[in-house]
């Protein structure tokens, strides 16, 4: 059922209009500077200081998140740490701690689940909620949002910004309007008032490249896009142009996909950035095997096999190249994935220049059938498959880093 076409119906402006409009009430929660805020909550001496989470000075990592104090110096997410050090030499640089942030994130999700059965985790620090059926019980959408914000503050000493609208992307934009610790409600009928003056880059799906393309044809704001002739947009940008124009007119998706209804995984992969550019073929192959083992372990854990194997390489000039190959038979064997990845690496002469980053990913996934002994014997990598199973059982008992093939281990020596 598509409710989004009814969008421009009325123009009432009361705060409770969302509830009475017959449309959905979609909430987007975005934790403020999440990783940095968790660090500040755990160590209150960091409050008010420029905290930068990600790589550490001297390393080659990138900034994952930084506190609002660090943003004043121009530090941003995904910026190389070396640049962040230059911009903010007095910054406090902290290693990312995935377990720590996941734990807090899961705890926040459990709070959200108390307010709606329809919670969609969107990333580690963002979630959508459909509160259409439950808002009334908590005194309306605004009261519900305030309760959630208070619960998060009480339990974790963290702030969240919340946006409420009748479609997802507007709720997401709303949550970014008054960060940090914000709450913005965009009532049905008032979307254009909020959206149209905004620069085009604020629209979900418009990155720097499409922003440039839009500017070339005179579209600078969301309002410009909303009024631009549809047939011309289709000619310039295809179906994407039409979809973005619909969004600019407030038309968007209002379905929330709870975590238990997640679409099936389509690909999985791992990558590694070396501390310095690497030319040694043994080290590169060792890392490739290490990454292939990680990917194959994940495949087996999720009971998948893959048909397509992709390698990704970044040389010192920062250009990213990727190549893929498709197997005749699907596999979850680490050695098969490694051999295919290595062949791609050699065939494309990627090892002829120093490598900064290398990655292995797999796609075209198929659910794994139970392999019979006969199939195992017929498989040219039958012995390796048995080794994989032994490695899996050791890892599940003693931990992820307990065992790997010797060639893969050498990269860490």
């Amino acid at each position: 059922m598509n409710k989004k076409r009814k969008f421009c119906a009325n123009d009432r402006t009361r705060k409770d209009q969302l509830e009475k409009s017959g449309r959905k009430i979609i909430m987007h929660l975005d934790m403020d500077a999440f990783f940095a805020s968790v660090e500040q909550a755990h160590d209150p001496r960091l409050r008010g200081k420029p905290v930068i989470v990600g790589g550490v000075p001297g390393g080659r990592g990138v900034v994952s998140t930084c506190s609002y104090e660090a943003r004043k110096y121009g530090v941003r997410s995904a910026m190389p740490t070396a640049r962040a050090v230059k911009l903010c030499p007095e910054g406090i640089f902290i290693h990312t701690s995935a377990n720590k942030y996941s734990h807090v994130s899961l705890s926040i999700l459990s709070i959200l689940n108390e307010y709606s059965p329809n919670v969609e985790p969107f990333s580690i620090d963002e979630a959508f909620l459909d509160v259409t059926e439950t808002a009334e019980r908590f005194g309306g959408p605004k009261q519900l949002a305030l309760q959630i914000k208070n619960r998060i503050r009480e339990k974790h000493n963290l702030t969240a910004s919340i946006g409420i609208a009748s479609v997802r992307f507007i709720a997401k934009i709303a949550s970014s309007i008054s960060k940090p610790d914000g709450l913005t409600i965009i009532e049905p009928g008032r979307e254009k008032e909020y959206l149209w003056p905004m620069p085009i880059c604020n629209l979900w799906g418009v990155g720097p490249k499409s922003e440039e393309a839009f500017k070339r044809i005179g579209i600078k704001t969301i309002g410009d896009l909303a009024r631009f002739p549809k047939h011309r947009l289709k000619r310039y940008f295809g179906i994407v142009g039409e979809t973005l124009r619909d969004m600019a007119n407030g038309i968007g998706e209002d379905e929330i996909r709870p975590f238990y209804d997640e679409p099936e995984v389509k690909s999985m992969g791992h990558e590694h950035t070396f501390e310095r550019d690497i030319s040694n073929p043994d080290l590169i192959s060792g890392m490739l095997l290490f990454l292939s083992e990680k990917v194959s372990h994940r495949l087996r854990q999720s009971n998948f096999r893959c048909k397509t194997i992709t390698i990704k390489v970044r040389h010192s000039d920062f250009r990213l190249k990727s190549r893929e190959a498709t197997l005749v038979m699907p596999t979850d064997c680490a050695v098969t994935i490694y051999q295919c990845a290595r062949l791609l690496l050699v065939k494309n002469r990627f090892m002829e220049r120093p490598i900064r980053l290398i990655g292995v990913s797999v796609s075209k996934l198929e659910k794994n059938a139970v392999e019979s002994q006969l199939e195992l014997m017929a498989n040219p990598h039958g012995r390796q498959i048995v080794v994989d199973r032994v490695i899996d059982s050791l890892k599940s008992k003693y931990g992820e880093h307990m065992i790997c093939r010797a060639r893969a281990r050498m990269v860490f020596q």
Binding site: V38, A41, H42, D43, P44, R45, I92, I94, S97, N99, K100, S102, H103, V104, N157, K395, S396, K397, Y398, G399, E400, M402
Partner: protein, 82 residues
Amino acid sequence: MYQDIEEPVDVIAVFENGAMKPLRFRWNGRAIKIKRVTGTWKADVGQSKIRYFAVLDQASNFFQLAYDERNTSWVLNKIWVE
């Protein structure tokens, strides 16, 4: 800045409301009383777990402690030094 320590420590802890809570620990010959636990999280290591605690002492100095369920031991991971 944070300084990695990774030294075993003796800890007195209680189980409160179904959760483990460190109260004091001994490090460098000094008994440190924990004023507040500011954060807890855990990491799976195979079938076992390491439980982490971000704690503050009476003077609000930061310490990170870890309890390793595999060998029922405590480690002081890191401290904040000016």
